[in-house]
Amino acid sequence: MTDGKAQGEASDDATPKRKDGMDRRKFLKIAGIGAGAVAVLALGSGYLMNKIIPASQDPRLRGSSAQSWVMLIDLQKCDGCGACTLACQKAHYVPFNQQWIQVYTVTDDTGGTYHLPRPCFMCRNAPCAKVCPVGATYVDPDGIVLVDQTRCIGCRYCMAACPYNARSFNWLQPSYPPEALAHPYSPEDPYPVGKGVAMKCVFCAAMVRKGTLPECTRGCPMGAIYFGNEYDDAVTNSKGETIPFRSTLQTQGGFRWKEELGTDPRVYYLPARR
């Protein structure tokens, strides 16, 4: 179908098209300049966007590598009252119909039932952060998976990717009381936010850095939820009980949900019956 190259070059000069102003060389030049301009624009805009937010104020860089938050939930103690969910919803002005920590009632293979509170599992290998096309979901230096709702485009790929249904979406504009509207937005305490963005448990990122336990942990009347720094090897519950982290997991049959997926969650469970 194509002519040989040498033959093509030879008859090129015979064509009158040259005089029309657009020969191959000129076309290639224009195409090259165009492609270059697009590349420069794309790279430059990304660079500029990064420059607009100074690194010192970038919420993504807050926290330090001296902390590695973990949660331990003792299913034997959980009675399924749902106080954790309510405490969370109240403190974070969680939009209607969302439960950042949700308590499931599970019937296991033996026919027995137990209650399973599910916050975000804060996976170390987070499928949601992996698939986000714009980096709106990110893992902060403390290991908390957060969503920058100002960047989120609402594609909901993170929701499709999360194997734990831990994410919600603002399908409609959430309504906020006046005091919530006055709150300065940050990914660590995401309210007020608009419609069309992904939402999730934030492990109370801003609070825990100041040394306060997360809302769900504090709100649990049974003391079933423990929270702490993995590097301190200790976790604490609402009753002020502090227990060793590693050895408790090892001796009490600690496990994580869907461990086989390799998501490496930061939320651990102790079995309901042991």
Binding site: S11, V134, N165
Partner: protein, 438 residues
Amino acid sequence: MENQEEFDRLVAPIRKTTWRFYAIIAPLIAIVAVGVYAYYVQFTTGLGVTGMNNYVSWGFYISNFVFFIGVSHAGTLISAILRVSGAEWRKPITRMAESITVIAISIGALFPLIDLGGPLRILNLFAYGRIQSAILWDFISIATYLTGSLLYLFLPLIPDLAAIREQQVGGPFRRRLYGFLSMRWKASPGQKRRLKRGIAIMAVLIIPIAVSVHTVVSWIFGMTLRVGWHSTILGVYFVGGAILSGIATIIIAMAIFRRAYHLERWIKPSHFRNLGLLMLVMELVLLYFTLSEYLTAAYGSESADSAWLGSLAFGPYAYLFWGMVAGGFLAPVFILALTRVKSVAWLVTAAVMIDVGMWFERFLIVVPAMATPQMPVSWGTYTPTWVEWSITAGAFAGFALLYAVFSKLFPLVSIWEVSEETPVTEPVPRPAGEEVTP
């Protein structure tokens, strides 16, 4: 023009437009308008006006996206693969196939945007785009595909547009359009050589691009850890389904335009027969993929796999699932395999069944996998609302509308290609028994 009569007949739809055309496009415009209004409602109120929820967070829009991108494979197959393999009989139908490609990508690529919660923040894709995300892969491959397909549609149009320009077809607007688009084509030997080379390069390039596009679309799903999606077959399954729905759509389009614009002289029963055979082959390939996909999941019967399969076979999606298997796969195979019923009408019937079945298939890939519980919780449910129905209807009407408008601006049959000397030894496969009856 060597053959003035042929030229006149092929540009007749451009020269004169009857009331029938307006009678057809008026309802199409109305349906598109309803769809646009539905989007306006969704844009101002939020995605809450759809049936999607925190469990089934993708629905009709993503199904339509996969479907339309699939249909766009019509052009690639008919035009590029047949061109590269030197099948000369393709000439009268290439333009129709290539225009389906461009129109279907344009419509399909709208759906991820319609599905966005924050369409105004779309520029973040440029500012913060992460190449690690399959959505970026999609964005890049679809943009490449659209550009390539536009070029591949445009290049073979140039000589026709120049001829139309010379014959002063159409009003002042169209004359300027043709003058601009024909790029001072004078049919000089150098121009002809370069055009043929350009077309040949694009034909070869567009094939891997098209394959990559639908593979990457499937990887959006395949890269997640969800039951029903996390499967290696998804890439080829999507590409196979894409080619199948592409062929089905081109057969329907050929039948409609052949009748509407009296193209019987160029679009012959043999074209339908050849495409029908291709469609049969792809249909069998897809049956094979479907069997592989579901049997592998069913036989191992992992509990999550079983739950997902159960919902397809016996659950809320059973009507769609068995409708797809029986109406979209098995029945068309019988229609296409029986030589005695291989008339154009039967072929079109099979093509329509296949297209509907393929839409079901896209829906059945997207929604049941999302409804399958990932945590110990009840099943997700999804009931599309009037907004989703309207936008979907608007997309199909928009597809038909764009195609109709295209047929009024450009010749649907590549005039210069069909007027080229046809080789005497054209290999036309003949079925052993019957001659085709139109």
